[in-house]
């Protein structure tokens, strides 16, 4: 029997990696960088976090939950930052084609994740091809203190791990930063019309480097969240699947608004796992059709915003274009 109270929390947990990936990609795109490497960045973020936490859990000492959470987050951000810096160096400094660079990074990132994932699985000598980080995952899934005391409402609103709320705060803050602050105005100017921003005395490369790197780190944490929260600390190769692409689709679906992305990521998350809830005995092919739903919704959204043709809903004008001051 389909129950909203059980479905919705699953959808929300599913949505958080998408949301973080989407916020990260939005930051990239607002600076004019179409970073198709985000799926790879999320993979690298996830495996870097897993490596960090694996080392800590197996270091032999007693497990301190606080340090157990901080270490994977730091290693995850470092891994994602490296990816971000590679992308920046290639596309901003060397002005390489962003699409090609991004796709290469995705291929690289997935391979990187699977390689180190495989290595660690070998190290553990486990019989199943996965790594289980139960202690870290348990610490990661610490819920708010007052959760579980407010009945069904509490179940719906407060039953999630603290990282869920951190993710939502990140999304809200990013939206505020983009729309209300001087930094946001200048960042958007860089993505819309870099020549104008340059003439106004804005350091284009600095804004691009910062927003790409920070965006990548946020996306990387999305990958880590998937492993340590959604998957209960179990890493298995390729399990992350195509969530990275879904995050990029979500950027378009949210029309570059991180605050909208919060709700829409839940919708996407719900659509993504809806196939698990179809009545048993349904044709297997139906399952695949359900899995297509998020992408179908994105296509419909693209058609809708193209038809309405409102300037505010268009991608940043200079998206995908390298900037060189003396070019004509």
């Amino acid at each position: 029997m389909f129950s909203l109270v059980t479905f919705l929390p699953r959808a929300i947990v599913q949505s958080i990696p998408l949301l973080l990936g989407c916020v990260g990609e939005t930051l990239n795109e607002k600076s004019g960088s179409l970073n198709l490497g985000i799926p790879g960045v999320m993979y690298v973020g996830a495996i870097s976090g897993v490596i960090g936490s694996f080392m800590y859990e197996n270091s032999g000492g007693t497990f301190n939950p606080v340090i157990g959470v901080i270490i994977p987050i730091i290693t995850c951000m470092l891994g994602a930052l490296m990816m971000g810096l590679i992308f920046c160096f290639l596309t901003v400094t060397l002005r390489a084609n962003q699409n090609v660079t991004g796709l290469a990074m995705t291929t690289f990132g997935v391979g990187f994740g699977n390689f180190f994932g495989g290595s660690i699985i070998k190290l553990t000598g486990a019989e199943v091809p996965s790594i289980t980080l139960s202690a870290t995952s348990k610490a990661f899934k610490t819920t708010l203190p007052f959760a579980g005391k407010a009945g069904a409402i509490g179940e719906l609103l407060f039953s999630y791990s603290f990282m869920t709320y951190v993710a939502i705060i990140i999304a809200i803050f990013t939206a505020y930063m983009l729309n209300k602050t001087r930094t946001g105005l200048e960042l958007r100017a860089v993505g819309e019309n870099p020549a104008t921003a340059d003439a106004a005395g804005i350091n284009i490369n600095r804004y691009k480097y910062f927003s790409i790197c920070i965006g990548c780190m946020i996306a990387g944490i999305g990958g880590l969240f998937y492993v340590l929260d959604y998957a209960n600390g179990v890493w298995s190769n390729d399990a992350f699947g195509d969530r990275g692409w879904l995050a990029i689709a979500l950027v378009i679906f949210s029309i570059w608004r991180p605050n909208w992305a919060i709700w829409e990521s839940i919708l996407f998350g719900g659509l993504y796992i809806l196939y698990l809830y179809i009545p048993t005995g349904t044709n297997f092919a139906m399952k695949e059709i359900y899995k297509m739903l998020p992408y179908l919704v994105t296509i419909i959204m693209l058609i809708a915003i193209s038809l309405r043709n409102k300037h505010e809903n268009q991608p940043p004008e200079a998206l995908g274009l390298p900037y060189f001051r003396e070019d004509r």
């Binding site: 209300k180 602050t181 930094t183 105005l185 100017a189 104008t196 921003a197 106004a200 005395g201 004509r328």
Partner: protein, 514 residues
């Protein structure tokens, strides 16, 4: 500015320029395209850095290393291509990049909330002071060209500039908007601000400026007091030799109808009537000028003849030398070409419709010929277009580093020469050109007029859409005046006077009403 030199690679853009700009005056900076006017001013506004020389402001030596430094020194430049973000409001564009509070000079923190209201208030004050009309909350994409320009000016004033540099501000404005702009500039002069206006239009120099400084090939020639000089003297200084300011108009010979347009009616995509029952004849060996306020159907008329515009009704009859008549109205551009009718079309939008900006000269020449069969089937012939490109560069004196240079890197005049050169090389029987000299300096313009006349002497029917009435009156044998898509009148270019044509442009039939 003293002894300013700037080189780009092997090209010297400015050489030992000395220029004095005084407070409270309007100075015109006059020169041909590529004479280094914009480069010189870019050094004043911090876009470029001079290789040699010093800049003094109020007697103090200054180093202008970036646009920000220039703006701190009170220098603001309004570029030819507006630097505005389309999805931002006027106010957002104006405060972009400002990190100090306008009142107390405190630094605005990057993550604190922007106070757009306060900025809007200050913007309104500036507008009231000088007579601008700007809505701070209007989005730039909703603005007309002249409104965008106003935002640019307010942006510069908002940052507290007292030296304003305007790079060819009138190139994109209608005569009425130009008048409005000049009124605002005069207001600023009254307020003690300095205005430098870069232009190559002589009548604007005469209308607005107190002094005029002339540059030629990157060198400073001299400064004249506008009241004490005249167009001839300025032109001579600008070009460096005597230039005839008269346009030749050879007598037409062997005149016979080439294109007969009958009852042509064209609607735009959104159903607006663009041409309404237009009829006229273009003759061989004659220049038919087309006058009209912009947007009165000139573009549609040429495109309809070229087969690029769907026609609602009417006929376009092409008359061959032996008298055979073909109706072009039913044919597409390719079919017209296949019939052997050679129409040359120099469109208004050079780098959009005429040439491909990112392709080089040879490839652009090929655009006209690639359908013709090469020596080997399936491959294009690149040799002929290359020879043609070489010929055009040589004969029309196109300044280009090489034939492989993308045309967008050429200056406006050279782009136009490439386009006209290609079209003429087809040996056309009809030459249509829209705003052929827009954005070109005097010298380049006269080269184009000469080319037009050469074609006329060859017996080509020339249709010349122009915006400068003086030129039209001197160049054309007959002038067709369009007004709101209708033919307002056809007058003889030799006898018509400017006022009469002007009236025809604004009122159908030219009768003054009321």
């Amino acid at each position: 500015m003293r002894n300013i030199t700037k080189t780009f690679g092997t090209i010297t853009a400015n050489k030992n320029v000395d220029l004095d700009i005084y407070r409270g005056e309007i100075l015109s900076l006059l020169g041909e395209n590529g004479s280094g006017k914009t480069t010189l001013m870019n050094m004043l506004s911090g876009i470029y850095f001079p290789d040699e020389g010093e800049i003094y402001i109020d007697g103090e030596p200054v180093v202008i290393s970036s646009p920000k430094v220039a703006s701190d020194l009170g220098i603001g430049m309004i570029h030819q291509h507006f630097k505005l973000v389309n999805v931002f409001t006027a106010a957002q564009n104006i405060i972009l990049g400002i990190d100090q509070d306008s009142e107390n000079g405190k630094k605005i923190k990057g993550f604190s909330k922007l106070d757009v209201e306060k900025a809007s208030k200050k913007i309104r004050e500036i507008c009231d002071l000088y007579g601008f009309d700007v809505d701070p909350d209007q989005k730039v994409y909703d603005m007309s060209v002249s409104q965008k320009q106003t935002v640019e000016i307010v942006k510069v004033l908002y940052k507290g500039a007292d030296i304003l540099i305007l790079d060819e501000p009138t190139a994109v404005l209608t005569p009425q908007e130009t008048e409005k702009l000049f009124a605002v500039l005069r207001n600023m002069r009254e307020d003690g601000k300095t205005v430098v206006i870069i232009t190559h239009k002589l009548h604007e120099v005469e209308a607005i400026s107190d002094k005029v400084a002339i540059l030629r090939k990157g060198e400073y020639i001299g400064t004249l007091i506008t009241k004490e000089t005249n167009a001839q003297e300025m032109t001579n200084m600008m070009v460096g030799r005597e230039v005839k300011l008269n346009i030749d108009r050879p007598e037409p010979h062997d005149v016979k109808p080439r294109i007969k347009v009958k009852g042509l009616t064209v609607r735009s995509e959104d159903g607006l009537l663009k041409l309404d029952d237009v009829s006229f004849t273009a003759n061989t060996g004659e220049v038919l000028g087309i006058a009209g306020i912009s947007g009165c159907g000139q573009k549609e008329l040429l495109e309809a003849i070229a087969g690029l515009q769907p026609i609602e009704k009417g006929e376009i009859i092409y008359v061959e030398d032996d008298g055979t008549e073909t109706n072009l109205a039913e044919l597409s551009d390719l079919e017209i070409d296949a019939k052997g009718v050679s129409l040359a079309f120099v469109p208004e939008d050079r780098l959009g419709m005429g040439l491909v900006a990112s392709m080089d000269l040879v490839d652009n020449m090929m655009l006209r010929s690639f359908r013709r069969k090469g020596k080997i089937a399936g491959f294009t012939d690149r040799k002929t277009p290359r020879d043609l490109a070489e010929k055009v560069v040589e004969e029309l004196e196109v300044v280009t580093p090489s034939l492989e240079t993308p045309v967008r890197r050429l200056s406006g005049g050279n782009v136009q020469k490439v386009l006209v050169g290609r079209e003429i090389a087809m040996n056309p029987t009809v030459l249509m050109s829209a705003y052929a000299v827009r954005g070109l300096d005097i010298n380049a313009s006269y080269i184009i007029y000469d080319l037009v006349n050469q074609q006329k002497e060859r017996g080509v029917a020339v249709i010349f859409v122009g915006e400068d009435l003086d030129v039209l009156l001197e160049l054309s044998d007959r002038i067709l005046v369009l007004c709101g898509g209708k033919v307002s009148g056809i007058v003889d270019g030799r006898t018509a006077d400017k006022n009469g044509v002007g009236l025809l442009m604004t009122k159908l039939g030219g009768e003054a009403v009321g």
